[in-house]
């Protein structure tokens, strides 16, 4: 697939497709256990780096260390781990929650049970992306990447600017990157429609 084949309705610039904050998402609804997917946790733990989930004893050192949680308590590693353990698959994967992580990796740094929550969250994001929940921001970045090998839009003004500062010109060739992206199937994934 050529980058230009990406549908036109995909915005060029990064739109804000995620809610500004997610704290309001706190659902008061009772969780219906029979409707949960008990196999979900195994599905997650099968992935590299995610097996530590079974050792989580919910001490909350991750949440207490999380800079995003402090700003927006809707993002809560302990709670997300719990949701996966209980099998709340659809709720987890469709939720914008999982995309708010800033990847600081404090959760993993302070976990006494060596649960690598950063990796677990990454598995969840990959699963969600499979289903078409990839945020536009990342989709747009990938599109730039396929064109130029860089995740940002580039233009003439920028090139002129670099030249004026005596910075060397950059070779902007997305060819190899595009091939690798196509090989790993990411090109198909970014055109998926949300369920």
């Amino acid at each position: 697939m050529k980058p230009d084949d990406i549908p036109e309705d995909m915005p060029e610039d990064i739109p804000e497709d995620m809610p500004e904050n997610i704290s309001g998402d706190d659902s008061e609804e009772t969780v219906q256990v029979p409707n949960l997917d008990p196999a979900f946790k195994y599905e997650v733990m099968r992935n590299e780096g995610a097996g530590g989930l079974k050792y989580c004893f919910a001490c909350g050192a991750c949440t207490a260390s999380c800079p995003i949680h402090e700003i927006d308590h809707g993002f809560d590693p302990r709670k997300l781990a719990r949701m996966v353990q209980l099998g709340m698959k659809d709720e987890v994967l469709s939720s914008p929650l999982i995309w708010y992580c800033s990847a600081c990796r404090n959760c993993e740094q302070h976990c006494p049970q060596s649960v690598e929550f950063f990796n677990i969250l990454n598995v969840l994001k990959n699963m969600a992306a499979e289903k078409g929940y990839a945020p536009y921001a990342w989709v747009v970045q990938t599109r730039h990447l396929m064109r130029t090998g860089m995740v940002f839009r580039t233009d003439e003004a920028w090139e002129t600017r670099r030249k004026a500062l005596s910075l060397p010109p950059l070779q902007l060739d997305g060819e190899k990157v595009r091939e690798l992206i196509e090989l790993s199937g990411l090109d198909e994934l970014i055109v998926k429609k949300r369920p």
Partner: protein
């Protein structure tokens, strides 16, 4: 003389010209040779979110490109350093994984054998040059300049990336590098707080609140500037101050320097042409006046 392949990444060459300028100049002064490589592309840091395999492939591709030229990699961005170093360590330790990656890299005529080291610029300064040599090279006295260090998460974490070099919960290397220039590193409570850069495209509000937290903490400290070592951290703390002031009614005006800019000042570089100080969002007039004054004394 030490040689490295310069890995610019995406953010620095696109948005933070002064980091690239000052890094090139400073490393040249200290005898580190940088080789520009056209075939480098994005490190894959964000792509792992969508597909872990793609992320790893992109990192491996860059490692292979450098390896083919027999060069270790020097990065300016902490996230590039983290992503590439993590991939390099994993692929070195796991031959099966390496095989899988190479079967795909084959299609772009590359192979990664597992022999590359990836270092962030500050680690190169700290390990290859050393604090003492830097102290000796200092020409302009920056003593008394109070600088608040910000390390950047992927410079330190995961722990095994920085093992034997620095300590994620009590980092020291940037403090020492700042001291080497004569400036005074000032510790502050939120020093290990993440800049939130990765969350910015997802939620501006969340990220800017996070940035504001650190800026508010710094407000209570007597500092002349913040010193950091990552283009994303720079964008968050440097470029976003005006937005934050508008959005939250704050009055922040904290000068933010990239470490090579600070070091460049100490080494006597031209503030504009060598170090790009005029490109920084928050004016550095106060700092420049101090330096000019101490020069006259």
């Amino acid at each position: 003389m030490n040689r490295y392949a310069l890995f610019l990444g995406c953010t620095t060459p696109r948005y933070v010209f002064q980091y690239e300028l000052s890094s090139r100049w400073v490393l040249k002064q200290l005898g580190i040779e940088l080789i520009d490589i056209d075939d480098f592309a994005c490190c894959g840091f964000n792509q792992i979110d969508l597909n872990k395999e793609t992320g790893l492939l992109l990192a491996a591709m860059n490692l292979a490109v450098a390896e083919a030229r027999g060069l270790n990699i020097l990065t300016l961005c902490t996230s590039c350093a983290g992503a590439l170093a993590e991939a390099a360590k994993k692929l070195k330790a796991d031959p099966k994984k390496r095989e899988g990656v190479n079967s795909k890299l084959q299609t772009v005529a590359l192979e990664y054998r597992g022999n590359i080291e990836v270092k962030h610029i500050s680690r190169v300064l700290y390990e290859d040059i050393g604090v003492e040599k830097i102290e000796e090279a200092v020409k302009t006295d920056l003593s008394g300049l109070r600088a608040a260090p910000h390390y950047g998460c992927h410079y330190l974490k995961p722990e095994w990336i920085s093992a034997g070099f620095d300590e994620p919960d009590a980092p020291q290397t940037l403090h020492q590098l700042i001291s080497a220039t004569g400036a005074v590193p000032i510790s502050y409570e939120t020093s290990n707080l993440c800049c939130g850069g990765k969350t910015f495209p997802i939620s501006r509000d969340t990220t800017l609140s996070l940035v504001n937290r650190k800026l508010n903490n710094l407000k209570t400290k007597e500092i002349d500037c913040m010193v950091l070592q990552c283009p994303t951290c720079y964008l968050m703390y440097g470029e976003m101050q005006k937005q934050i002031n508008k959005r939250f009614g704050e009055e922040h005006e904290v000068p933010v320097l990239l470490y090579p800019q600070l070091l460049g000042l100490a080494l006597g570089g031209n503030p504009q042409t060598d170090l790009g100080l005029d490109l920084n969002a928050i004016p550095l007039d106060g700092i420049m006046a101090r330096i000019a004054k101490s020069d006259q004394d």
